[in-house]
Symmetry: C2
Subunit: 110 residues, 2 copies
Amino acid sequence: MIPKKDLPPCPVATTVGMIGNKWKLLILRDILTGPKRFGELRKSLAGISQKVLTDSLRGMEEDGIITRTVYAEVPPRVEYSLSELGESMRPIINAMESWGIAYKTIVGRE
Amino acid sequence: MIPKKDLPPCPVATTVGMIGNKWKLLILRDILTGPKRFGELRKSLAGISQKVLTDSLRGMEEDGIITRTVYAEVPPRVEYSLSELGESMRPIINAMESWGIAYKTIVGRE
DNA sequence: CGGGATCCATTGCGATACTG
DNA sequence: CAGTATCGCAATGGATCCCG
């Protein structure tokens, strides 16, 4: 089932309410390239604290964007992967990536 | 001239650093439909405080995303409009809008 | 009208310690 | 390894008052 924090009338506000924050956007970027382990994310997201990372992951899981899979192994392994809903956000991150690339060429040649 | 907070290697991080926050994304959404006055933005962005609105606008102006125009009239009028750089962010907001619309139809029929 | 300047409450977040 | 729990500070953001 899909969560229900009540939706704002504006579609952009809906999206912003779910991923309109620095860390969630960067987490999304990382998991878009394939499932990631907790430790991988912590390394890749330089500067994030453990607490904020776990809180963000839990929130995104509740929103149905990502899926958490626990492997009963020793040592324990946990993987975060995209749900279908999360996958459908790819165009957003793509647009951000394209903009970032274009911006870099602009400031690069000034 | 375009500002220079040093750019992260990842293009997505570059974009996130500039508009990876709730209010800036919503401000961008508003100004994308045409120049807006301070009061208009405050009304449209329900829940934002004056301080946060001014701070956000200043930041976006420094980043070269929006332009601030003061009209020497009585009563005073100030308009915020998109710069070319801000205009180039339209695809990002469009992607977010599309996602929000699609999401709404999904949760609507569950 | 569109802010600037304060003051202050809230809380986000980091640091640390402990666990299945 | 991948967390949970707690504590405490620094910063974000809200409320208020004033001004060009």
